[in-house]
Amino acid sequence: MNSELLTEFTYFVLAIFVGIEVISKVPTILHTPLMSGTNAIHGIIVIGAILIAANATSPLEIIVGFAAVLLATLNVVGGFVVTDRMLEMFKGRQAPAKQEKK
């Protein structure tokens, strides 16, 4: 295993723990927005899509690259917008008065 792969593997393992830890106390009412929010974050695949589409030369690469960028952009833009729309419903409530029992 070369050192770059080892470093990447380290990021991977640490990110697993962070991912679990960071949402472990989410209240039920936020499950849907949270799912939608994480859905938007994996829209980062748009980076991967751009990386392969940018240097496409053959017709096949061009088609695959275009489809990848298109789908990934739908994911990332739609994901963030739909999450924002869910969450804007929570604004303007008398939030300080709410009961935080758990």
Binding site: I45, A67, V81
Partner: protein
């Protein structure tokens, strides 16, 4: 990778983590989503110096962005609140599809014998992304009503699915060990798509949220794998964050339904249902008491305490504003009104809160199940609007019922119960609800919004 790009990716990763953290609390949730979006913009911009554009490359990239961004934003803006779950399924599916395409493209590049550390994550990402794409498409179709929401099963289904899975593993090993050829990995992608379809078909519509959450985690892992293929820190970290938190969220969701994840996924639901058929049949010959809006309106107007139990029927009828109006009218008369929110009310956990918040129902009146269950015995009227399975006492009393063990709202302990339903049809779980035949229960048939509007008039007149 230059230092500045690496630092920008690190900043993006920090913003994703902070965003997720803020998303886990009601006050900071919206800011959390925006934080993550800022991280995304930084990550994308930081990638630009890494690109080596060909002319065709720059055209298709810009074209993809120029079409995808407005279509994504507009469909997300326009979608009805009730259709949110399938929208999330759709956005998740396209993400999985994109990850699979990126991996295919890399495999096409790599030739016959790519290094294992490239080939393995490519294959993984392609298969898992493909499953997520096809599975999300089926989840979308079920929720959108394009195909039936009831489980689609046939004899030997589990065996067929297992065989597809084994074929995928075998072909993946062949591709890794023998030679990486399009005939192998294109077949693999097709098998992954078939498995995605076959895996979601036998799962009932009511369980789709859990399935979408699981497929969301799948897409995350698939994205992380493409990060290994492209040696990209941002993809690895963001994908893994989603994979890990999505898996935990999936477990939390199935717990909220009182079932294990395995039970949700592997069709036990259908089997148990067949076994409990006898119990459902006992409902025949029982009588129900149907009331008029005036009866119910009077009852509500002179109650001291009313607990509203909203369900999917309310969402479908878009009745949340009429419900809020009814609650306002009752409160004007001094009636105490609260809302009991079951963890899986609606189609997804949290779905109902979003809908009621849209109608400006104060956050403090929304009570979670554990918080409110003790209050039902002192409640004069429990008003069940378009909910069914989440108040079915069979979950407590009838062993062998498909929903046995699921935590429910103890509506049966209220002094009076009003069910607003369109018909006597059973809920999503497909089982009868004995509470409908309870002598304390009055049925108010009709569209929820319609009935609520009539109730408002009746309360005003009372």
């Amino acid at each position: 990778m230059s230092l500045w790009i690496a630092l920008a990716y690190l900043l993006a990763a920090v913003l994703f983590i902070l965003g997720l953290k803020q998303l886990s609390g009601p006050r900071g949730a919206r800011r959390g989503n925006q934080t993550a979006a800022v991280g995304m913009v930084i990550a994308v911009l930081a990638t630009v110096p890494l690109l080596h554009f060909t002319v065709a490359g720059i055209v298709v990239t810009l074209l993809g962005l120029a079409i995808g961004a407005p279509v994504g934003a507009i469909s997300a803006r326009r979608v009805h609140m009730t259709a949110m779950p399938q929208m999330v399924a759709a956005f998740n599916g396209v993400g999985g599809g994109a990850a699979a395409l990126v991996s295919i493209s890399e495999l096409l590049h790599q030739g016959l014998h790519p290094a294992f550390q490239i080939a393995f994550p490519s294959i993984f990402s392609m298969v898992v992304g493909g499953i997520s794409f096809a599975g999300s498409a089926i989840a979308f179709a079920k929720l959108q009503g394009l195909i039936t929401g009831t489980p689609i099963t046939y004899a030997g289904q589990q065996i067929v699915n297992a065989l597809i899975a084994i074929a995928i593993v075998g072909l993946a090993i062949t591709n890794l060990a023998v030679a990486s050829q399009p005939i192998f990995f294109v077949t693999l992608l097709l098998l992954a798509l078939v498995l995605g379809v076959a895996f979601v078909l036998p799962i009932g519509g009511a369980d789709m949220p859990v399935v979408i959450s699981l497929l969301n985690a799948f897409t995350g892992l698939s994205v992380a794998a493409t990060g290994f293929v492209l040696n990209n820190f941002a993809l690895i970290v963001a994908g893994t964050l989603v994979g890990a938190s999505g898996t935990l969220l999936t477990t939390l969701m199935s717990q909220a339904m009182g079932r294990s994840l395995a039970n949700v996924l592997f069709g036990a639901f259908g089997q148990v249902k067949a076994g409990a058929g006898g119990a459902a049949a006992t409902a025949e010959g029982k009588t129900v008491r149907a009331g008029s809006p005036e009866d119910v309106g009077t009852m509500l107007a002179y109650a001291r305490k009313v607990i509203v139990v909203p369900g999917y029927g309310l969402a479908v009828a878009q009745g949340q504003h009429a419900l809020k109006e009814l609650a306002d009218e009752l409160e004007k008369r001094g009636v105490e009104v609260e809302y009991a929110i079951h963890p899986v009310a609606g189609r997804m956990p949290g779905h109902m809160n979003v809908l009621l918040a849209e109608a400006n129902v104060p956050y403090e009146q929304l009570k979670e199940m554990d918080e409110i269950n003790g209050e039902f015995p002192s409640t004069d009227v429990a008003l069940v609007v378009g909910a069914n399975d989440v108040v079915n006492p069979a979950a407590r009393n009838t062993q062998g019922s498909p929903i046995y063990g699921m935590p429910i709202l103890n509506v049966d302990q209220a002094k009076n119960i009003v069910f607003m339903k369109r018909s006597m049809r059973p809920g999503f779980a497909g089982i009868d609800n004995e509470l409908l035949y309870d002598p304390k229960t009055i049925m108010l048939f009709g569209d929820a919004k319609d009935s609520l509007t009539k109730l408002v008039a009746a309360v005003k007149a009372a």
